[in-house]
């Protein structure tokens, strides 16, 4: 069966986040990394904007060199916490389409959407939506590649960077790879490339025409693997993160909200989603975090830790509301709301046992609701308090 793999790679991620957070940097060369100290700095470039790349600056380059190439650039320190926060939002978007998300780094991931077609449409459509949602919710661009396997998807996402969107269908694989240089192969560095060149192999097309044994004789074990890749064969699976450290859901409104009733309803809807996911993973969380982004993109997170892990919608909603009520709004409009539970534990893991056992009927009811939704979809059963609501949310 043909798989559908998507590779998502954020464009100049750290630099792009800085440009977004500081509109004054937009369109200007931004270099994130060590302090250049007027050319005497000793660290390296962590990331740079495309404007800086035009001057020949690239990541991992010594900061002193970058300073010489582009002294007028905006040099910024690495704000890892901030990038992680943004990254979480992006991974949240990716996980809307499948739970088979394999993060490669803070700003890069593989998705296996083979099974998502019935729910979300064709893989190309999913790729397009992911790009659009990342832009709409985070104001950042991603390059996306859609292909039958990881190898091609990764090349595809890189093909038209930045803001690229490249689809390689099964029948197009051969043509797509044909003229690519062998350096596109993972694990092919200068040395291997030189060996291949000595054989007269410069492109993947040329490599594909060589018999596997002949290549293996010269390159060893890896040769066979490279041959397969050059023919577009790569069956490595997408391996989702072992165990989620937190389970959450968030949503961005199509119109920034200041209606408290709608906000409360949204929190209820998010609590429902988180609760269902917790049950699916057979877990509960003791730290609840509320994320709130205002229309001006200022983002706040507030959390609280409870003594007993919670998983029921009502409990999550109550805590989220309590957190929300402590945030002074000062009339600001809300753009995004999110709820996440962390410090996850299963029912049998160590911890305080409640004195008053939870009503088992509540849990049973929640499970019944999950089952109804599994059979008839999200709208199969709806809380009465959410019936009247116009969701105003851009996404599920």
């Amino acid at each position: 069966m043909t798989r559908a793999i998507i590779h998502v790679d954020m464009d100049a991620f750290y630099a792009a986040v800085e440009q977004r957070d500081h509109p004054a940097y937009e369109g200007r060369p931004v270099i994130v990394g060590a302090d250049p100290k007027k050319g005497k700095g000793r660290g390296v470039v962590a990331a740079c904007s495309y404007e800086a790349r035009a001057f020949g600056v690239h990541s991992a380059m010594p900061i002193s060199r970058a300073y010489r190439l582009c002294a007028h650039a905006i040099f910024l320190p690495v704000r890892m916490n901030r990038y992680e926060e943004v990254s979480e939002g992006i991974f949240g978007i990716l996980r809307r389409y499948t739970d088979r998300v394999e993060p490669l780094s803070i700003d890069e991931a593989f998705l296996d959407v083979t099974g998502s077609a019935r729910l979300f449409g064709e893989p190309t459509e999913i790729g397009r939506q992911i790009k659009a949602e990342i832009w709409r919710e985070e104001r950042l661009t991603a390059s996306v590649g859609v292909a039958p396997n990881k190898f091609i998807a990764k090349i595809a996402s890189d093909f038209k960077k930045p803001d690229g969107f490249v689809i390689v269908r099964s029948e197009e694989v051969k043509t797509f790879l044909q003229d690519l240089s062998v350096e596109h192969l993972w694990g092919v560095g200068k040395k291997t490339a030189a060996t291949l060149r000595a054989l007269g192999i410069k492109t993947l097309g040329e490599l594909a025409r060589w018999p596997e044994e002949a290549v293996s004789r010269r390159l060893g074990m890896v040769g066979g693997h490279l041959c397969l890749l050059s023919r577009g064969v790569d069956d490595r699976p997408v391996i989702p993160e072992a165990m989620a450290k937190s389970i959450g859901a968030e949503t961005t409104f199509s119109i920034d909200l200041d209606d408290l009733r709608q906000i409360r309803q949204t929190l209820l809807r998010l609590a429902e989603r988180v609760s269902a996911r917790l049950r699916r993973e057979d877990t509960a969380g003791s730290t609840i975090t509320l994320k709130l982004r205002f229309a001006d993109f200022t983002t706040l997170t507030r959390s609280l830790t409870v003594a007993e892990p919670i998983a029921l919608t009502e409990e999550i909603h109550a805590k989220a509301l309590a957190l929300f009520q402590k945030i002074p709004l000062h009339g600001r409009r809300v753009r995004l709301l999110g709820i996440a539970l962390s410090k996850l534990t299963s029912k049998t893991s160590p911890g305080q046992i409640p004195l008053f056992p939870a009503d088992p009927r509540k849990e049973k009811a929640a499970e019944a609701v999950d089952e109804i939704r599994r059979r008839f979809g999200e709208a199969g059963i709806v809380r009465a308090s959410l019936l009247s609501s116009e969701s105003g949310e851009r996404n599920r």
Binding site: V306, A307, E308, A318, K319, A322, T348, S349, P350, G351, Q352, I353, P354, L355, F356
Partner: protein, 367 residues
Amino acid sequence: MHAQVARNSFLSTLAQVQGVIEAKRTIPILSHLLLEAKGNTITLSGTDLDVSMQTSLFGEVKQEGAVAISGKKLYEIVRELPDAPIDLRWEEGQNVQIVCAKSSFRLKGITPEEFPALPHIPEGAGITIAAETLRTMIPKTLFAVSTDQTRPTLTGALLQAAEGELSMVATDGHRLSLVKAPIHAAKAGGAIEAIIPRKALAELGKMLKEETGDVRLVPLDHQIAFLLNGSRLITRLIEGQFPNYEQVLPSPSGPGALLRREDLLGALRRASTISGDRATPTVLELKADRLLISCKNIDLGEAKEELSMEYRGPETTVGFSVRYLLDFLGVVDETEVSMHIHDPLSPALFEPKKGEGFSCVIMPMRI
């Protein structure tokens, strides 16, 4: 208004009343205390609209009247004044004048009409209990009151009076404390069932401090009043259903384990230095005549203690949050405590040896 009071008694009265007034000044008048001079008494009142306290002291009243003054400032000033008579004087449209020995202050005052009226308390209604008895009940329940605002009914102690008995119970959902005492049978009135907020309990404790005599409890509409020797505390009640606590009270079967309070307290305190936060269980291993206490903290290391005890039940191992055990031991007056542990997943019962109507139920932690 014009009156004279003794500094020391004024200060202790102020200390009592100013505890209830609002720390955050959202409504200015709530950060004020009402001073009323009438006959030969000065009455001080403070309120945060939920809890109100009123108490009076002897004063030489030269001109009757009343005024509201910033409670915090008045308290700070009086605290620093020498032990000499304090002269308080106020006239409409002027500042309040406070003169003591060679010090004098002028403070802004607010007309008494702006101060919220305290509810009228009907004469002779309610039930009575010895102040000393009620005073000892408060610390035995206050520690178990929840601070989790998302479970409002647990943020107070349930007070129940019926059939010649007064009981108070508090729980945070992990442990529960229950204390009972007889009411003066002759004066027993109607039944009372009310959830008293934590703050009111704490302030009531202060009001009863060093007092003798009887406290009168008067149920009002959504409120309850406590009256004692000219002082009164009125509190709003927490609405809602207190959990059915009787269903989790374990019935003590057999004699349980008997331990010296001091020994257990010392051992647990030492073990608690390792336990760190609430998430780490302290493990109790009950053997014949011996109790092994241990606590392992992956980040720090471990602690082990051994105590001798009287125990004839089956050997068992159970984990607890050490804080809950310490909280209980901290309010026990007796030298020996009993411990009834059924199994590692059921509520355990802790009591002073002689009982005395005090029980603490602690739910174990899963180890």
